[in-house]
Symmetry: C2
Subunit: 246 residues, 2 copies
């Protein structure tokens, strides 16, 4: 991962754009907040929290990637969300974590102790408004993913996942995709399978198939190059005229 180092006084990715919470906005006034705001780091593979555990903080992702997932008793696992920088973790007003959160890469979280954060929400309505908008976005994303899980073929699922990562990666680096996109695949084949409701073997086979027909190119296992985004889009099964591809 391209972990650019960060200064805890100015993480720059906090989604709650309010001076009392995001130190980027008013870095000088924040000393008194140190007892409610702090940073945590996790190594790749470490759990952040398990479903059902009491959760005494909310947080936003500063660097790295985490997954949100659910596991059945017999071991079947379904990932229900991918947390990238600027994504928010936590349920104001809820006691327990609803899902497992695991660091996929090295991870830095900007955490807020829950009680003071909720007090702040009470006294600062704009934070709640911002959080509502973010939650509505997440809900739309989750529902879009339901179409992928319920109705798409393995091939279309892989293409859809690659599009999502390519899109978010391009947005993060503010790079417009002209004649090709290149990015680092942050997930193992197994993690992709858990996201897509497939087995890791099927993921591997479909990636090989996409490589064989030239839709994607791989250097090593993880570096992906997409020469022509339209060809990848046409593999997703999505409406090509959708407009909001990038």
């Amino acid at each position: 991962m391209n972990d650019t180092s960060f200064n805890p006084r100015d993480c720059g990715t906090c989604p709650i754009r309010h001076r009392a919470v995001c130190s980027r906005c008013e870095p000088d006034e924040l000393d008194h907040l140190d007892d409610i705001k702090y940073y945590r780091t996790y190594e790749a593979g470490q759990p952040v929290i398990w479903a059902g555990d009491p959760m005494e903080f909310v947080a936003s992702v500063v660097t790295g990637i985490a997954t949100l997932s659910q596991t059945m008793e017999d071991g079947r696992t379904q990932m229900v969300g991918l947390l990238l920088p600027s994504d928010f973790i936590g349920r104001p007003g809820r006691e327990h974590a609803p899902f497992d959160v695991v660091a996929v890469t090295d991870l830095t979280l900007c955490c807020f102790r829950k009680k003071p954060f909720e007090d702040l929400m009470g006294s600062t309505p704009s934070i709640g408004g911002r959080l509502l908008q973010m939650t509505l976005d997440e809900l739309d994303s989750a529902r879009e993913w339901m179409l992928v899980l319920g109705r798409k073929t393995a091939r279309e699922k892989i293409a859809s996942l690659l599009m999502i990562i390519a899109r978010r990666d391009a947005a993060l680096h503010k790079r417009l995709p002209k004649d090709g996109v290149e990015f680092d695949l942050p997930l193992t084949r197994e993690a992709m399978a858990d996201y897509l409701g497939l087995t890791l073997e099927t993921v591997s086979r479909q990636i090989s198939a996409l490589k064989k027909v030239g839709v994607i190119q791989l250097q090593g296992k993880r570096q992906v190059h997409i020469p022509d985004l339209q060809r990848l889009v046409s593999e997703t099964g999505d409406d090509m005229d959708g407009g909001h591809i990038f």
Copy 2:
């Protein structure tokens, strides 16, 4: 459907528990709101709104059932939500509907014109807070459903859907399930298939199979009787000790 008639001055199901919005709380003060609050009815099968259409209201379901769904160009359809009485429809701050909304049964909505509703949210923070909690609940439900779509077998999917309907039905009628539950199945086999990411034939076969082993009993096609809820739970694949079954 058991449509109990309702009085437009006191719908009793509005999820926004605030006197300025929900006439149940302070019915006498509400005359001035008639220009922002109104009721709409739809017949079974009628569309409420299509994905992408401009949406000039938000609403809550008073009676009946609606579905939220997505369709691909080739006709594959995935239902992404089931809207039952007291559920909320709409995106404050968004211009266009993200998904198709269709009335499954006869439907009554309690609508608020969007602009005035947003103004009211601005001046009344508790509405935003309530909406945030509801949206977080919906997000959790959507994510739980992702496990169903991605990892469960056809049999488990059917059992999971029956459990959801039984649970919501019991909650609505405030009836505790002692030695059995009985309810009306509001969806066609095809609608169930669209919800579960299956074909209607598979839905029919699995329902027949559950009937044959005695987990469910049918009178006609739609009236379902479940003699022993634990047996149905054990078909869902879910953790039996979960505690929050009912």
